[in-house]
C-alpha cells in the first residue's frame, strides 16, 4: 500500500506485505493440501476389476460355457487371471484388499442360479457407508445369453480397499 500525503512523501506500509503474506499463506496451504493428498484411484481399480471379470465371463458375446460349473467357481481367480496379493504394508497381506462377488440370475424368473465370491468378504460390510475411510464398492449388472439362448442377468460387486494409500 503506498500512501501519499499532501506533501507528496510516500509511505510503504508493512500492511501491504502483511496482505501479501496472507495471500501467499493461503496459496501455500492450498498447494500443500492438494499435493499432500494422495491420488485416489480406487474407483478406477474397481471399474477395471469389474471389466476384467465381465470379459472373463463372456466368450464372443455369449456366456462362457463353464461359467456356471463348480470347477469354474472354485478356480475363478486362476481362470480369470486375478492375483489379489498386495504389497506387505499396513497389514494388507493379512487383510485382503479386494473382493469380488458375481451373482448369476435367470433373467425370466429372476431366481439366483449361482454365486462366485473371492477376496476378503469382510469388506462387504463397509459398502454403503459414507466417508473417505471406507472401501470403494462398485455394482454393475449386465444381460447375457448362453449358446442355447438362455437368458441371464449377471450382477458384479467389486470392492477395493487400499485406504491408507489413497486417502489421507
Amino acid at each position: 500500500m503506498i500512501l501519499k500525503n499532501k506533501k507528496g512523501d510516500k509511505i510503504i506500509s508493512v500492511y501491504w506485505f502483511v496482505i501479501l503474506f496472507i495471500v501467499a499463506g493461503a496459496i501455500v496451504y492450498m498447494v500443500i493440501s492438494f499435493y499432500g493428498e494422495p491420488y485416489d484411484i480406487r474407483e478406477a481399480e474397481a471399474y477395471a476389476l469389474t471389466n476384467k471379470a465381465a470379459r472373463c465371463l463372456s466368450d464372443a458375446g455369449y456366456l462362457e460355457e463353464e461359467a456356471l460349473s463348480v470347477a469354474f467357481k472354485e478356480n475363478f481367480v486362476e481362470k480369470c487371471g486375478f492375483n489379489f496379493e498386495t504389497e506387505d504394508i499396513y497389514n494388507w497381506r493379512e487383510r485382503g484388499q479386494y473382493y469380488i462377488e458375481i451373482d448369476f440370475y435367470d433373467f425370466s424368473t429372476n431366481q439366483g442360479i449361482s454365486t462366485i465370491k473371492t477376496g476378503n468378504e469382510a469388506l462387504k460390510t463397509d459398502c454403503g457407508l459414507k466417508g473417505e475411510g471406507f472401501p470403494v464398492c462398485l455394482e454393475r449388472s449386465f444381460y447375457i445369453l448362453d449358446r442355447e439362448k438362455n437368458q441371464y442377468q449377471i450382477d458384479i460387486l467389486s470392492i477395493v480397499r487400499k485406504t491408507e494409500k489413497n486417502v489421507q
Partner: protein, 151 residues
C-alpha cells in the same frame, strides 16, 4: 481534513516511512525498492509452487499408480508406450540409473526417482510382462511395456 486523516493513518498503521524528500531520484528509488520486494516475494511463491508440482515423491506416486492401472487393464499381446519425461528429468538430476526407475516384484510396481524412497503399488492382473526403457528416441522419455501372457 485530508491532512488529519493521513496523520491518523500514519499513527495507526505500522509502516516503513521513507524519508520525505522532494528529490525525484529518491521517489524513483522508493518505487524500485518496492517493486523489487514484490517481485522477490512473488518469485519465492512461484518457485515454491513449481517445486511442489514437480516434486519427486508426487511423481513417484503418480507414475506408480498410473502404471498399476495400465497393467490392471492390460491384455496379452499389448505393447504399451508410457511417456515419463518428467520422471526421467528428475531421475537424471538425482543421478538415478534410468534402468532402475521402475521395478517389479510379484505383482507390485515400484517407481523410484531418487536414491532413497520410492513408491510401490500393487495391481491385480496376473500377467507376465516386461518393461524396457526406449533408448531409440532422443531425448529419452518413454518406457515400453510388453504384455506377454497370463501367469
Amino acid at each position: 481534513m485530508r491532512r488529519l486523516v493521513n496523520k491518523k493513518e500514519n499513527q495507526r498503521f505500522l509502516s516503513i516511512r521513507i524519508l520525505p524528500n522532494s528529490n525525484k531520484a529518491n521517489i524513483l528509488t522508493q518505487n524500485i525498492i518496492f517493486i523489487i520486494l514484490n517481485l522477490v516475494f512473488l518469485s519465492i511463491l512461484v518457485i515454491f509452487l513449481f517445486s511442489k508440482m514437480g516434486n519427486a515423491a508426487v511423481l513417484e506416486e503418480k507414475y506408480a499408480k498410473q502404471i498399476a492401472l495400465i497393467l490392471d487393464s492390460a491384455e496379452p499381446g499389448m505393447i504399451i508406450s508410457l511417456n515419463m519425461r518428467d520422471a526421467i528429468k528428475i531421475a537424471n538430476k538425482e543421478n538415478q540409473d534410468l534402468d532402475n526407475i521402475i521395478s517389479i516384484y510379484d505383482n507390485v510396481i515400484k517407481v523410484q526417482l531418487k536414491e532413497k524412497g520410492g513408491y510401490s503399488y500393487s495391481f491385480f492382473n496376473d500377467i507376465d510382462f516386461s518393461i524396457y526403457l526406449n533408448t531409440s528416441s532422443e531425448p529419452i522419455k518413454e518406457y515400453i511395456i510388453f504384455v506377454e501372457d497370463y501367469n
